[in-house]
């Protein structure tokens, strides 16, 4: 189970404090009781000396053989029972005030009276009630315990919340952060060393990542770019070889196949280059673009393929969808969506297009299972059979939508049709 730092140490404090206070209470009680006994016993011993002294002066005292107001008695004893040492015991004696037996401390000692007789002196005094004492002590300790916990809780909540403020500020910013968006982390100016250094490290890490990301993006662009020339050389060299008309068929076919593969590579490379350029915000100029017109043009461009594939196209144009956009990007976007709809079509051969002033929909029949919207925009993600797909078409679409920041794109699967919908933001 995860707990907030605010309650984290509290979980340990509750049982620990309980144990510590328990041990402390035990020791405290023992000490107090010892001290009390000591005091009482000293008092009793003192009283004994005074009584014996009094007995020498006034032998009548030896006649006190019942506990009276003085709380002592003197009894005659035989030689056998005589013992001059002090015997201290705790006994229960009925106390009329409480109506119950209460603990008494009793001192027993023997002495010789003036008459040389052997006497035994018993002095008693009321003692504190241990069970009451324990009860009261426990109550006050529990109150103390709860009070300490409450104040600890308050201090925790208040102090830690205050101390953690910069931490949450950093956390919020990290949550907002997206690689490549070039967002700056706002300084939280914490005077807690840990948070200050956390902030410093986070900023440094982000800088490092951004730099690496930029380098990587440039690397893709440069690499794609550098590949174009050797590809051109290879393709055109093969073209020159193919000029030789008396080449045997087998070789001719092999070279043609190699050339076709190279062309695929050229297109893949161009797609990567385009993706990289889009991501690097190289298409910033925006104009009012009429998507309806662009779509019409792209449909015409693709008409021979649509015809050949015998697709049943149902195109409803109800108005002009006009958005501020980069014209070339609008063309690439719609071209890719249309190509996607053509490429992944199935034997139902449906291609539905609907466009009005607020939305644009391109729907096609295809696989009977909805696509995973999380995966379709991934680079190089390919759906099943399309062997000539380079897996970048929809990635480019997604990048354009994100970077141009004027339209929203959504995918849905309705009535066995895969539909991409564009709406204005």
């Amino acid at each position: 189970m995860k707990v907030s730092l605010k309650n984290y140490s509290f979980r340990y404090l509750v049982p620990l404090l309980f144990v510590v206070m328990g041990i402390w209470a035990f020791l405290f009680y023992k000490t107090i009781v010892d001290e009390v006994y000591d005091n009482i016993d000293d008092g009793l011993k003192n009283q004994k000396i005074e009584i014996i002294r009094e007995a020498y002066v006034d032998p009548n005292i030896t006649k006190v053989n019942e506990f009276g107001v003085n709380q002592f008695r003197i009894l005659k004893v035989s030689d056998d029972d005589y013992d001059e040492s002090n015997h201290l015991t705790t006994e229960m004696v009925f106390m009329p005030y409480d109506g119950e037996n209460e603990p008494y401390r009793v001192l027993r000692t023997g002495f010789h009276g003036v008459d040389k007789e052997k006497y035994i002196l018993e002095i008693r005094t009321s003692m504190m009630e241990e069970d009451d004492m324990i009860f009261n002590l426990s109550i006050s300790l529990i109150v103390l315990y709860v009070l300490i916990l409450l104040s600890a809780l308050v201090i925790h909540q208040v102090v830690i919340r205050k101390a953690l403020k910069p931490f949450y500020a950093i956390l919020d910013q990290i949550k907002q952060y997206r690689l490549g968006k070039n967002t700056q982390i706002q300084s939280v100016k914490s005077n807690v060393i840990e948070f200050a250094s956390l902030e410093e490290e986070v900023i440094e890490m982000i800088d490092r990542n951004e730099e690496m990301y930029q380098q990587q993006k440039l690397f893709i662009e440069n690499a794609s770019h550098e590949l174009q020339t050797p590809l051109a050389v290879t393709i055109n060299e093969l073209d020159l070889v193919l000029e030789n008309t008396d080449m045997p068929e087998k070789e001719y076919l092999k070279i043609t196949a190699a050339k076709d593969a190279l062309w695929r590579m050229v297109h893949l490379n161009k797609s990567l280059l385009m993706l990289s350029r889009i991501d690097n915000h190289q298409y910033k100029m925006t104009d009012k673009v009429n998507f309806t017109e662009v779509l019409q043009n792209e449909l015409e461009t693709l008409s021979s393929i649509i015809e050949e594939k015998q697709l049943y196209v149902q195109c409803e144009k109800k108005g002009d969808f006009i958005v501020k956009f980069h014209p070339e990007m609008a063309r690439v976007l719609l071209s890719n969506l249309l190509r996607n709809a053509i490429k992944h079509n199935n034997e139902e051969k449906k291609l539905l297009i609907l466009i009005d002033t607020i939305e644009l929909k391109i729907a096609n029949s295809g696989s009977h299972i909805p696509l995973n919207p999380k995966l379709i925009y991934e680079r190089f993600y390919k759906q099943g059979t399309a062997k000539n797909s380079n897996g970048l078409g929809l990635s480019i679409v997604k990048s354009i939508v994100e970077k141009q920041n004027a339209i929203a794109l959504s995918y849905s699967f309705l009535n066995n049709l895969h539909e991409f919908k564009i709406t204005k933001k």
């Binding site: 770019h225 174009q228 590809l231 043609t256 050339k259 021979s304 050949e308 070339e328 380079n390």
Partner: protein, 223 residues
């Protein structure tokens, strides 16, 4: 007709030169900015193939220099960059056309012909093979002296065949040059076949001496 190829990639330059020589076109070449500048000042060319990125200077400056010299040469930019901005800038500075590397030779040849036609009004632009004549000026086709009506795609197909008769045009090349960038549908290039079939039929009924033949199943040629 003389063409200057300004290209710093020696290998690519050699290949372009060889191809144009095969097409019986007179070619000279320059590898560096300085060499190119020397040549355009000293000689007249009908067409210049210009690589924008040269090690010792920019192709854009060569374009400006050509303007200053009031040169009549048509300029086709050859660029590995293939970016819209580059294209726009090149055309603004005075280039006639823009071709991204890598390119199909057929495409290059077609662009050269178009560029030459733009600047030369001597009317010698007719393409002729056997009894077929194509006039790119007004897109008129005559077979055995009689006009042949073709739709747009059929005309473009025939135009490419007429540019290089007796040479094989691969299906993928045709798909890309006539229909645009459709390589991703290359598993099914039957739409080319149906257009070619129509074109052949029309040529045959017009009593053409030349016919379009399939070659090894990968392409066609006019013969």
């Amino acid at each position: 007709m003389k063409i200057l190829v300004i290209e710093d990639e020696v290998q690519l330059q050699r290949i372009i030169v060889e191809f144009l020589n095969n097409e019986k076109i007179l070619v000279e070449s320059a590898t560096t900015f300085k060499e190119a500048l020397d040549k355009i000042i000293s000689f007249d060319y009908d067409c210049i193939l210009l690589d924008i990125m040269l090690p010792d200077g920019s192709g854009m400056d060569i374009l400006k220099e050509l303007k200053k010299l009031q040169s009549k040469a048509s300029v086709i930019i050859l660029s590995a960059k293939d970016s819209v901005e580059d294209k726009v800038e090149g055309l603004l500075v005075g280039a006639d056309d823009y071709l991204a590397k890598p390119f199909h030779f057929a495409e290059l040849l077609a662009r050269i012909k178009v560029a030459l036609r733009k600047n030369q009004q001597n009317g010698n632009a007719l393409l002729q093979y056997k009894n077929i004549v194509v006039n790119p000026e007004d897109r008129m086709v005559t077979v055995a002296g009689k006009e042949l009506k073709l739709n747009r795609k059929e005309y473009e197909l025939l135009y490419y065949f007429m540019l290089r008769p007796e040479k094989v045009m691969q299906k993928t090349t045709l798909a890309e040059t006539v229909w645009g960038d459709h390589i991703e549908f290359a598993d099914n290039l039957d739409f080319i076949y149906s257009q070619i079939k129509n074109l052949r039929k029309k040529l045959k009924t017009a009593h053409s001496e030349a016919d379009i033949q399939a070659v090894y199943g990968v392409g066609y040629k006019l013969q």
